[in-house]
């Protein structure tokens, strides 16, 4: 399994702040995102500005996933 965490506008589009999905042995982050885009087409416009973190560390969309990874999808920040 992989644990997904969504924030801000991405969480609103997905209608939830977290979800669990089955791990595809070949899965990288881009593949997970593509799956989400099919379910939530509104995500497409957000891809260029979205960053991903695995277990709290920023990674590229090519990053390969392992069992029990926590993947966070992070829109552009707005703190302060």
């Amino acid at each position: 399994m992989i644990h997904l965490a969504f924030f801000a506008r991405i969480a609103e589009i997905c209608g939830t702040s977290e979800r669990t999905i089955a791990l595809d042995p070949a899965a990288n982050i881009a593949m997970v995102w593509d799956t989400l885009e099919q379910e939530f087409p509104a995500l497409q416009a957000m891809r260029p500005s979205t960053r991903a973190a695995v277990n709290g560390s920023l990674v590229s969309f090519e990053h390969r996933l392992a069992a029990d990874d926590e993947v966070a999808f992070l829109p552009p920040v707005g703190g302060g």
């Binding site: 965490a5 924030f7 801000a8 506008r9 969480a11 500005s49 973190a53 709290g56 966070a72 992070l74 829109p75 552009p76 920040v77 707005g78 703190g79 302060g80």
Partner: protein, 138 residues
Amino acid sequence: MLAITDEPLDILAVRAAVLDKTCGGVALFEGIVRADDDGTRCVVALEYEAHHSMAIAEFERIARDVHVRFSGARIAMVHRIGRVRVGEPAVVVAVAAAHREQAFLGCRYAIDELKMHAQIWKKEHFSDGSADWRANDA
């Protein structure tokens, strides 16, 4: 004190966290929710959300940087999440140093870094009932 909280911010507590006998100056910055007006609608509140562990890790990175770059300056930084009304602080940063130059520079550095890199998001709530997420300028 590096924290994210859904409670109103306690400025004196943030300040007190950096004071010691070696400190000759404290620079403190508050980011306050402003009644921003785009001509047709006016901000009435901001709603903040954070990736708690990533944001705190970023605060810790910033605190280490401030200490190293600004002559051992001590920093406290607290960001509020949830709904914050106009006039209330959303973030408070305090930096104490032996001399004011380092306190000012450290404080400015910290809030700039927080705004660029901390995993925190902001939704603007307007007087007409509409709302939208708003990213910081890159």
